[in-house]
């Protein structure tokens, strides 16, 4: 199986604090990979490094065997890697429809066009409508994103992330703050939308992690202490000690 994402000896330091320490990680194409770890372990920082939001201090990051570390976020996105944010990060004053459409425009090749009427682009309409239906927000189409409920905003966040058709998706705590029922719906949505794509997900809810992931990596104090199938992680004594505690086992 070919690799989608590969991290080679990645380190990130802020001043004298090192947040990510010598991380090596491989995510295979089509795999659903969960990244877990206690608060402050550096999971979001790792996402920021992979998506280009930050540059690694040492090491390199590869997307389908091409080095992407050092590229700005939009270029990484154009190469087919898209991420969501832990704190909802949408276009607050624009409608749900417009939010999704903005996420579709580059991928459909319209770029900075100032000579086309945005309402007259059939494939943009089709794809936006498709995503809108996928995330179950059809009835909220014309509502400004800032006025949606929290769960709806999270769904929109995922919609924006996948709308461009990237085949590597990074989701940063997509179910954080959701009720049990909302979490179940969100997981079903994620499962459906990432079908046939590569998924790297940060998640705190262990039922979500073990239900969704093919493989799991455990990050503690900026280091990956274990990587493997859910069963392997469950049985790993180092993980138990560092993170999972007794209740999961």
């Amino acid at each position: 199986m070919s690799t989608a994402i590969e991290l080679r000896g990645v380190e990130k330091t802020f001043g004298i604090t090192s947040v990510i320490r010598n991380v090596n990680l491989t995510v295979a194409q089509g795999e659903r990979h969960a990244l877990i770890g206690p608060n402050g372990a550096g999971k979001s920082t790792l996402f920021n490094l992979i998506s280009g939001y930050m540059k690694p201090s040492v090491g390199s990051i590869l997307l389908r065997d091409q080095v992407i570390s050092g590229l700005p976020p939009f270029q990484i996105n154009r190469r087919g890697l898209s991420r969501s944010f832990q704190v909802t990060n949408v276009f607050a004053k624009m409608s749900v429809w417009e939010n999704l459409r903005c996420a579709v425009l580059w991928a459909t090749g319209h770029r900075y066009a100032f000579w086309k009427n945005v309402d007259n682009l059939p494939e943009v309409r089709d794809r936006t409508a498709q995503i809108l239906q996928d995330i179950n927000l059809v009835s909220r189409r014309d509502v400004p994103a800032g006025l949606l409920t929290y769960a709806e905003q999270r769904a929109l966040e995922i919609g924006i992330t996948v709308a461009g058709g990237a085949d590597v998706i990074l989701l940063d705590e997509p179910t954080a703050g959701m009720s049990h029922a909302e979490t179940e719906r969100a997981v079903a949505l994620i499962r459906r939308l990432t079908e046939g794509r590569t998924l790297l997900i940060v998640e705190h809810d262990m039922s979500v992690v073990f239900g969704l992931a093919d493989r799991i990596s455990v990050l503690v104090y900026g280091q990956i202490i274990a990587s493997g199938t859910p069963e392997e992680i469950r049985g790993n004594p180092k993980v138990k000690e560092a993170y999972l505690g007794e209740e999961v086992v």
Binding site: P73, S82, A103, L105, R111, Y112, Q130
Partner: protein
């Protein structure tokens, strides 16, 4: 397009909607044609021309402020350079007898605005917010001081003048009379407004809004916010240049005031007062501010002070501008509950007017003693004569100001309450806010 899309996507405008849409533009064109028949005096034609120029300039400014979220303190640079290039173009065309008629001269101004925006905008559009605002201010100061130093191009204090009637005549129009200038400005205003509206409906225009709302997220849907801001800046420069060229044609002169801080401030002022949130906002603002500046300067010496007060009032109490205030009433109008708030408006109007009158009395009296202490104390402000030396004036002003303020506070609270009622009633009738 798939069938599913048709049911999910926003409906395509129906034939009646389209008719309405094009009807508005055709109506606007007709209104511009008929306007000089209704108000034919030279003064009103000049006013209309100035309004047209101000509309183009303010809309070009709103490409930055309202559409892309960039606050510029130096937009007059592109307006001024457009004006200077247009004046030089007129002189060159006249001297060499080139076959170029006056109506195409604004294109020279537009090209000048565009090219200078392309040159000066690349660095400043890297960042929005404070950095962009500061750089725009710096560039504006640089240009304004260059205008006084580079005399051969900018003509120093006196500026550069031209005779617009000396270029090639088209259909025997000399463009000497103001009526012909009016039609020239009106035609360009219509073209520019349509073009700038169309721009908001393009992929670039939509991404400008996205950059305004959230430049960070834009990077994660494949776009470089710097490029989007740069494009917006260039378009904004293009239309500002057209406006500047029209102003130069109108006055037959371009001077350093064109690119100065006052001009940059005025366009910010007009755009903001009109309302940055709606496309039509800057148009309303341009009309309002042009009329107000022409009207107020006749009525009082310190009209700029009143401008400042109005600006502060809008920023504090109506951040959506005039258009924002009007648009707030749309749900009430649709729900048929507007009549519930109107009485409380009337009640609030009187004490507010008293407060404003008191404030104006105080300002005018102070102006008399500070600015013109040696003149006759029987002054006339806003057409009302009074004796500034009479101590009773101070008492009257204080009573009006303080009493008006206290009452106005109560009455505006009542407006807010009746407003809530009306909106709730409108919502119950199924009108979305």
């Amino acid at each position: 397009m798939s069938d599913a899309t048709a049911t999910i996507a926003p409906p395509r405008p129906a034939a009646s909607d389209r008719l309405k849409f094009y009807g508005i533009w055709i109506g606007a064109a007709l209104a511009l044609l008929v306007l000089p028949k209704l108000f034919s005096s030279g003064g009103s034609l000049t006013t209309f021309s100035l309004i047209g120029i101000s509309i183009i300039f303010s809309l070009s400014y709103n490409i930055l402020l309202g559409q892309t979220g960039m606050l510029s303190f130096g937009h007059a640079v592109y307006y001024g350079l457009g004006g200077f290039l247009a004046i030089h173009a007129i002189n060159i065309v006249a001297r060499n007898k080139f076959a170029i008629p006056l109506p195409v001269i604004p294109l020279v101004g537009g090209a000048a605005g565009l090219i200078f925006a392309m040159l000066l905008g690349w660095v400043s559009t890297r960042r929005s917010g404070t950095a962009f605002a500061m750089i725009s201010l710096g560039v504006a100061e640089l240009m304004a001081s260059s205008a006084l130093i580079l005399r051969t191009f900018f003509g120093g204090e006196a500026g550069v003048s031209a005779n617009r009637t000396k270029v090639l005549r088209l259909f025997d129009w000399s463009f000497g009379p103001q009526i012909q200038i009016y039609y020239l400005v009106a035609a360009w205003t219509l073209i520019a407004v349509i073009a700038m509206y169309a721009l908001t409906r393009t992929p670039l225009g939509r991404m400008c809004n996205a950059v305004r709302d959230n430049p960070e997220r834009v990077q994660f849907v494949g776009y470089d916010p710097h490029i989007i801001r740069y494009f917006a800046f260039c378009f904004s420069g293009l239309f500002a240049g057209i406006a500047g060229a029209l102003a130069a044609i109108n006055f037959e002169i371009a001077n350093s005031a064109y690119l100065g801080a006052v001009q940059s401030g005025t366009v910010l002022f007009a755009t903001y007062i009109g309302g940055v949130g709606f496309f039509i906002g800057p148009i309303v603002g341009a009309i309002f501010v042009t009329l107000l500046s022409l009207g107020l300067s006749d009525l009082t010496q310190v009209w700029q002070l009143y401008f400042g007060l109005i600006f502060i009032a809008v920023v504090m109490f109506a951040p959506g501008g005039i258009t924002g205030l009007l648009m707030m009433h749309r749900p009430l109008l649709k729900g048929g509950t507007l009549s519930r708030v109107l009485p409380s408006y009337l009640v609030a109007f009187l004490p507010t007017l008293a407060m404003i009158t008191g404030l104006m009395l105080m300002i005018e009296t102070t102006v008399h003693f500070t600015v013109n202490p040696n003149e006759d104390s029987h002054i006339k402000a806003f057409g009302i004569p009074f004796d500034a030396a009479n101590p009773a004036i101070w008492a009257v002003a204080a009573v009006l100001l303080i009493g008006g303020f206290l009452l106005a506070r109560k009455t505006w609270a009542r407006v807010a309450a009746s407003w809530d009622d009306a909106l709730t009633a409108a919502r119950e009738k199924g009108v979305a806010a």
